[in-house]
Symmetry: C2
Subunit: 413 residues, 2 copies
């Protein structure tokens, strides 16, 4: 894509009132737009990052048998009343609205109820199980405070998967498969080395849950990390009893701040019993289906990466998340534009995903924009490189630059 | 995909209270689930259809320069007050809700206001124009009556594009480009021969608009069609004056029922003036940006196709929309399962998108399900075909069957 055609522009300062680092940088770079506190729109570059995260998540969810759906945002109160979660005193972050006939309906903050109810029409026998069903969808949560940019939004994009199984053994087994799938996702997203499985509270659903916490000083959570064992304990359950259960020695743990980038729960029969999701066993007799849920915020992951991997110059995308594989920057002067145009044509034809900065503005402004946008590889075509007959390739992380031939750029895709 | 693993099941009857043909069939076939009147969730097969429509739309929008974004559902009332569209007396289908501090916010039924306001931060000069920006996103409209299934929902998936230009000539020119892009979309979606550009009212925005109406007896609209000129007039503007302007002779027109599957408007400066979206002209001086909008409901298109192209046995998807290219149906008996499994493996490896009915149920039930699901090509592997050493290939439309070799199936993708 030619940068001159992109409708977004970079800006020097974050808008007033935007206190978070992640949203501040993403707004300055033209990836997102703030509609109101905790509500952001995704502009072309930001949507590309979100879509890249979506591709990784879909592949990993499909690999463990996930079937994708897209449930509605509007929520039927009848289902939530049956599980006792309609009341604002029980769930304190509902957005509610009214149909034109006055009936109150909710906006989905999670989808256990509608999916469990839906499945009563499709599952009935032990032969129909196990199943795993997921969606990538906009969620609405009426947060009291929303000052962390994409890390805690009133509206955000989330992947939520739900598993439906027959036995506690199947539930445990799928839980561990999901843990591995999550590890794959964070590894592919470029944050595997700083993201740790974390023992946490199960909230209102179960005794414990597994969080995935990415180390970051701006995180809302405090965790106690055993680096060698790649395991952590959330402060909320940091007790001698839990440490003993996990075989962790207090003195080997570091207290660190982190951002929760994923959370998986065993729900048991909490929802299936209330909503009548049962199955007939092989030997006859009915049992409620056992369930698990597996959440991962795409927009939060985008925000977490922006928050943690950026530097004073701007964003620094891991390769798999970057909106483009390569930023081709033409620095104006004799022969540069012609040479850059030809290279852009060649790279595009070869299937390399390129953002081509063809703008006629100063070299300083272009390089500052490139730093801010944070594409991992930058190829510079200038009068100097044209004369030398090669291209300067620089990595955004580390800043190492070397002269390369055109052909060496083809491998970037 | 193996049909035995698909979590959805077909059903003989539509649920009580579902009066529309499109939703009735789609629910019976397991493509969608009704959450409440006018609110549907998309199950794996339905989501695949929706995604296929999305691929076509994105390609055609990108081809005319569209840049994709994803705007928020939650709407800031301040922007809508500035255009006079916050008041329920002006826009009668708002869903509104409240932030935890009591501030009222809306749910997006359309996105002229937020996008126009957003662009004031990115567009300023004649050099920044023209631009076209679109999204594919869930919309919310508080319809009084919602009895037409996917044709008129309270929540639905829509593509909305907005153009931003400098002159009335540019507006006209982009409008005609969009008309051609819409024609391409409907043609690729398999309804080109029954969808007509239709002269219609411009509502509150402009004098006229262009609708795309697909002929269907269940449609809400009455149009007057000139088949040879591939042009129609909506009853709402069917006057002698309009006919004269379009050069249409009343006696050459047919009165037919149709479903609106697309609608494009020239907005002029209706929104840019209220929201301060101006540009500096080449010779200096400021002008409000001219705008157009281009709507197309993905879920409505899916419903329209289900409504119009189905028969008494079930759905009949055009190739480009079908959830799978081929339905491989194994009819149990000597050698059939082994042969079908092998064929499924070969086809999958060749990249053919196949739904493989591997279930051990009666041939009658399997063929009835295949008719209901409506995949355009069906390959039958039975003891008889195994013995003959070939495969029976049948087309869902027309029902023509012929014996083919394995290799002949490879071209279906």
């Amino acid at each position: 894509m030619k940068q001159s055609t992109l409708f977004t522009k970079t800006r020097r300062e974050a808008p007033k009132g935007e206190v978070s680092r992640n949203a501040g940088l993403l707004i300055r770079a033209g990836y997102i737009h703030k509609e109101m506190a905790g509500v952001y729109s995704f502009l072309p570059l930001g949507l590309r990052v979100l879509n890249n995260i979506g591709v990784i998540i879909r592949e990993e969810m499909n690999a463990i048998g996930g079937q994708e759906v897209l449930l509605s945002g509007l929520q039927n109160p009848e289902l939530w009343k049956r599980t006792g979660r309609w009341d604002d005193a029980v769930v304190d972050n509902w957005f509610k609205t009214k149909l034109s006939d006055g009936t109150e309906v909710g906006l989905g903050h999670s989808h256990e109820e509608p999916l469990t109810a839906l499945l009563t029409e499709h599952l009935s026998s032990y032969r129909d199980l196990p199943k795993a069903i997921y969606q990538i969808q906009g969620k609405f949560r009426n947060e009291l405070r929303a000052k962390s940019g994409l890390l805690r939004g009133r509206e955000f994009i989330m992947k939520d998967m739900y598993s439906f199984v027959r036995t506690p053994q199947e539930l445990d087994s799928f839980h561990e498969q999901a843990v591995q799938a999550y590890r794959n996702i964070f590894s592919r997203a470029g944050i595997g080395d700083r993201t740790f499985r974390t023992f946490a509270s199960g909230g209102s659903f179960s005794k414990w849950s597994d969080e995935f916490q990415m180390l970051c000083d701006a995180g809302e959570d405090t965790i106690y990390l055993h680096r060698e064992r790649e395991l952590a304990v959330n402060r909320e359950v940091y007790t001698d009893e839990v440490l003993a259960e996990l075989g962790l020695d207090k003195h080997e743990l570091e207290e660190v701040r982190a951002i929760e980038v994923g959370n998986i729960f065993k729900l048991g029969t909490r929802f299936s019993e209330s909503l009548g999701l049962t199955f007939t066993e092989e030997g006859g007799g009915k049992k409620p289906v056992l369930m698990g849920c597996y959440g991962l915020g795409l927009s939060r992951l985008m925000g977490a990466v922006a928050e943690a991997l950026s530097d004073e110059k701007g964003l620094r995308w891991p390769k798999a998340l970057s909106p483009f594989a390569l930023h081709l920057v033409m620095l104006p002067g004799t022969g540069a534009k012609e040479s850059a145009e030809a290279l852009y044509g060649t790279l595009s034809a070869r299937g390399v995903s390129v953002l081509y900065d063809d703008r006629d503005i100063s070299a300083g402004a272009k390089l500052a924009d490139a730093d801010l946008l944070g594409i991992p590889y930058r190829a510079i075509v200038s009068p100097r490189t044209v004369e030398a007959g090669n291209i300067e390739l620089m990595e955004r992380v580390g800043g190492e630059a070397r002269m390369v031939s055109e052909a060496e750029l083809f491998s970037l895709s």
